[in-house]
Subunit: 209 residues, 2 copies
């Protein structure tokens, strides 16, 4: 069975939990506490030298890091990733947008809140907030005439952007002003097999074993 | 003919110039000066609301942003992107690594140097430098037993990482200590159809028309 090295509060890890659940792929969930430095141990660095969750590990020892690459791997050949080359490029455009222009602001603000690091980073809050709202505005404008990010159906682009957008309020972002984003969040929540970021999924095992 | 909205010094735009040249795909090159704010004009924002180059535009008006999504689009069905689902995920893992854990440090340091913004950002230089070296160390360890980032041949993962790595010295990074990275840089330079970041390619047209 595959293993998902996971951190409960991580939206990046939640993306993988969500897709694996929607695909019906069983997995073992291995909690790694990033707040306790567990991604910096020698054992973890052998799985991902870039010390980040999520990482997926196969029984033969192969590992795959980067949440959006993991989503792509499992979505290939399924309805969550279009075959059409143009639509596929659109999916990736939004996934790269998420990692470069969304996550570093919206996810990081939330992280500072729940990890108690907000005061220590006070000087950066204005810029992070401004850039996070910029990402939300772009999403709202794109979604206004559309139901999903790429093509006419729910894809891994939606999963990638949903993960941190739906909890943006935990980083002090006011989602109330983004009507199209809110309609889309609800559309994502109504997909078959949807789980919450707090839902217990997978068989939990300890790390290190 | 397709148009590439381009900025000469941008490694992200160079990625696209390089792949299109290696594929023999003709294009019009539309220079956009990011230092003069030309990515923030209404005309440009209609092409990419995220105000970044590169953007590719088709004659029917369709546009595609995000350098690595553009690479993926054109590489589909060519030798620059493996068909194998596992190798394809490896390619994407390194491309997402590039955008999240490499470009924001190595490219940004270089940008501050050539745009004269280094002094204004002096307080961030130590962290950017440390995180840039961290990315280079991960690359060097990965490449030590390998010739390319994913599988046994040159792919868009190599193009994505080459773009800013080969000019990291312009951001004060010392590449001398990374032997495997240097051997790989030379391997990339020897690929058929390789061009320099400064090479004139495409038919240049003005923006706005």
């Amino acid at each position: 069975m595959i293993r998902l090295y996971d951190f409960w509060e991580s939206g990046n890890a939640y993306k993988v939990r969500l897709l694996l659940t929607q695909l019906g792929i069983p997995f073992e969930r291995v909690p790694v506490d990033i707040l306790k430095g567990e991604t910096h141990t020698d054992e973890f660095l052998r799985k991902n030298p870039n010390h980040r969750v999520p990482v997926v590990e196969w029984p033969d020892g192969r590992t795959l890091a980067e949440s959006n690459a993991i989503l792509f791997y499992f979505a290939q050949g399924t309805k969550y990733l279009p075959e059409d080359p143009w639509l596929r490029a659109q999916v990736l455009q939004w996934m790269f947008f998420e990692q470069y222009s969304h996550e570093p602001f919206i996810a990081v603000m939330r992280f500072w809140h729940f990890s108690g690091q907000l005061e220590a980073n006070r000087q950066f809050v204005a810029e992070k907030t401004e850039r996070g709202y910029h990402a939300l505005k772009i999403m709202d404008a794109h979604l206004s005439p559309r139901s999903y990010f790429a093509g006419d159906s729910y894809s891994i682009a939606d999963i990638a952007l949903y993960a941190y957008t739906h909890v943006a309020g935990e980083g002090s972002f006011d989602l109330g002003r983004f009507g199209a984003v809110n309609a889309w969040l609800n559309r994502v929540r109504r997909q078959d097999g949807h789980i919450l970021i707090t839902d217990s999924v997978g068989t939990e095992i300890n790390f290190p074993e």
